[in-house]
Symmetry: C2
Subunit: 465 residues, 2 copies
Amino acid sequence: MEYTKITSDILAQITQIIGAQNVFTDEESLGNYAHDETEDLKYYPEVVVKPTDANQISALLRLCNANHIPLTPRGGGTGLSGAALPIYGGILLSMEKFKAIIDIDTENLQATVEPGVITEDFINAVGEHGLLYPVDPSSKGSCFIGGNVAHGSGGPRVVKYGTIREYILNLEVVLPTGEIIWTGANTLKYASGYNLTQMMIGSEGTLGVVTKIVTKLVPKPQQSVLMLASFGENEKACAAVSAIFRAGIVPSALEFMERKGVEWVIKFDDIKFDLKPDVNAFLLIEFDGDDMDTIFKDCEKVNLVLEQFECRDVLFADTTQQKEDLWRMRRTMAESVKSNSVYKEEDTVVPRAALPKLINGIKEIGSRYGFESVCYGHAGDGNLHINIIKAGMSDADWKNKLKDGIVEIFELTSALGGTISGEHGIGLVQKEFMPIKYSEVNLNLMRGIKSIFDPNGILNPGKIF
Amino acid sequence: MEYTKITSDILAQITQIIGAQNVFTDEESLGNYAHDETEDLKYYPEVVVKPTDANQISALLRLCNANHIPLTPRGGGTGLSGAALPIYGGILLSMEKFKAIIDIDTENLQATVEPGVITEDFINAVGEHGLLYPVDPSSKGSCFIGGNVAHGSGGPRVVKYGTIREYILNLEVVLPTGEIIWTGANTLKYASGYNLTQMMIGSEGTLGVVTKIVTKLVPKPQQSVLMLASFGENEKACAAVSAIFRAGIVPSALEFMERKGVEWVIKFDDIKFDLKPDVNAFLLIEFDGDDMDTIFKDCEKVNLVLEQFECRDVLFADTTQQKEDLWRMRRTMAESVKSNSVYKEEDTVVPRAALPKLINGIKEIGSRYGFESVCYGHAGDGNLHINIIKAGMSDADWKNKLKDGIVEIFELTSALGGTISGEHGIGLVQKEFMPIKYSEVNLNLMRGIKSIFDPNGILNPGKIF
């Protein structure tokens, strides 16, 4: 696609709109916003802007729309699919100055928040009012809530509390053509025409720039118990997952971790953990609620299930510190694995009973192509992150043959009823794989929807399809 | 809009596609499908068809698309917004022969079901496997699950279990241009491009015809308690609603009923109920779970809240029969009210703490315009159904002035952060009110999305916008 380069005249207009102090063209700034956390990809924008209100974004998008300049919105830069990379240059729009928690409405259990708020800050702020916002991706300490909306992000608590789609009630959005709209209403239910709020969620910044977010909140549970169950085999651990739900148990988190992931966390981080030699897989299981008796009953029930899958050992985290250590182990796993090797990350999701077939298939494919893999993730949702590790693969094979292996992984995922991303999105790096799962008819519907919102294709071009 | 009338030649082609035994043009059949449950509206189709598989629907839509013939899909005919009325004539497509529960997947806690299955039949079928599908609108005994998808339907258990959007994982859809697609994947999470599944939900049969539905299921709770709390005033009952959630309590249902609604149920139905003279409003509160101790703790907590709002009396339904009677009272309320008077039904939804202002406002507007109203609904979600009763209003005023009163109700709803429909949809009768809440920009986005799915505007034309 051909876009207009930013001339000094256009730059002057951008500066007029945003204010000189929030417009950056120095090499260091451009470099800082040339990448996210997707492998080692780098795309330099021509200019970085940090607007402070929706009207500035509106004026900027009108300018881009009139002059055919690409604009790429960016949240915390923690994305894993390259959705925030300015692949055609143009303007990189950082939302980092949209930092206000505008309102925590304790009467209605709702909040209004700007998209540049760090997810964990928001969780903590509502927590002080005894409320829970249960959407907490592993990157919660640095990702923005706006990025979570853009990607339909999840996290461990989806399994009990539902996806982000249940928690986003209404959005203020600047359209690519410059209009500012609210997509819906501040209500728990909505049947008032096409649901534009849901349309925005997971659209990866290609349909509009979110400038305010109204969320649902729920009462914060007072108690929780965290258990770490260890298994001799991946397959047994994965098979236990669906059995837990079949037994009528709904944990507030149910995470899977491979031994190798834990090994690398121990190496990378300073977590003390006694990793026994015969253990190859773990399930991290959390129950929350207000009543410890009920929680303990769930723990007992889950123990009975785990025994059927040759669970070796169950560790109960009693103290806050122990709980935090175990969660840190899970949350820093991606970072730890990546610090050790050239890697590629995939985000498969399947119906949860298909997890054993998925993990066995991944290992089998890896053995044929010569790559290793470390798998972990939100097993309760059937969502398995795969860190593919270069290991003994030659540079040439990594470059030329890996893709075929990934295609095989996604073909397997699709055959099991799954899809190619559960929460990381498609962005730049997964779009070539979309046809594995979705027909040209599906993709054309998406392209058509895009053309309605963004007739000139200026907003985050080159992503998803 | 101008559409082609069905000629004998076209009818022959329709008959060829669907089979003569499933094509109806006799007056009785046309009359049976000329109305739904929306007031007294009647629009006759030119032909009624009852296809038996998706390929027939595909061929039919190709025929309609090529010849510019309107086609209106219809579920159980229980709609309250006129969305299934064939206002331009043409073909009425009844989904009543799509009656198969294809699969109840007890491994993955999912089911695949055809859209013509009656919602209650589906709930009972999964219940036999110890599973819960918690989307149960009041019309569950006669509505179709496909209609529920089309309308984003709710019901009392949304308050704990989330909306239908959490339970619909994947849809097989015939597009207006005839292609058959699956909208997504059979997974609990999805971040693989624009969410076409969510786009279909609540689109009221204007974007495609759903032919298969994959749902999420959850373990069925083993126990429940149902309480009926009575109040002297509507406002106090409504104010108690948000206080319950603020106290950290999440019931599995929290319904509001006005005295007049109960009076008319007693008249219409054969329910025995001792309606005390000083009681004017009720909250029907349900808790479910596996553990009676926990449920009783919730009951105690909720009692403490209710006391603060001058609750008169709390009745505990002990037996299955008592529970069923109370639920029947709530569920037959619409029918009972309608059997007594000329009426119009609205489906307001606001942030739940705004309920007292909403109900007081409705009464005040009614007193100025001369209509009465009976209010009831899913108060836990802020969703209040309003049956507007003609009462002393003259025929002329009912015809000419009522609309202004409804506009005032919706303006109030909107000012309180709410919207004009929570679960009944917009269809035909609410579309004139959409501009009260949504800008022309919003409506044009909806029209644009419609044009992408249905370039010739043949599928359920004249609805929503």
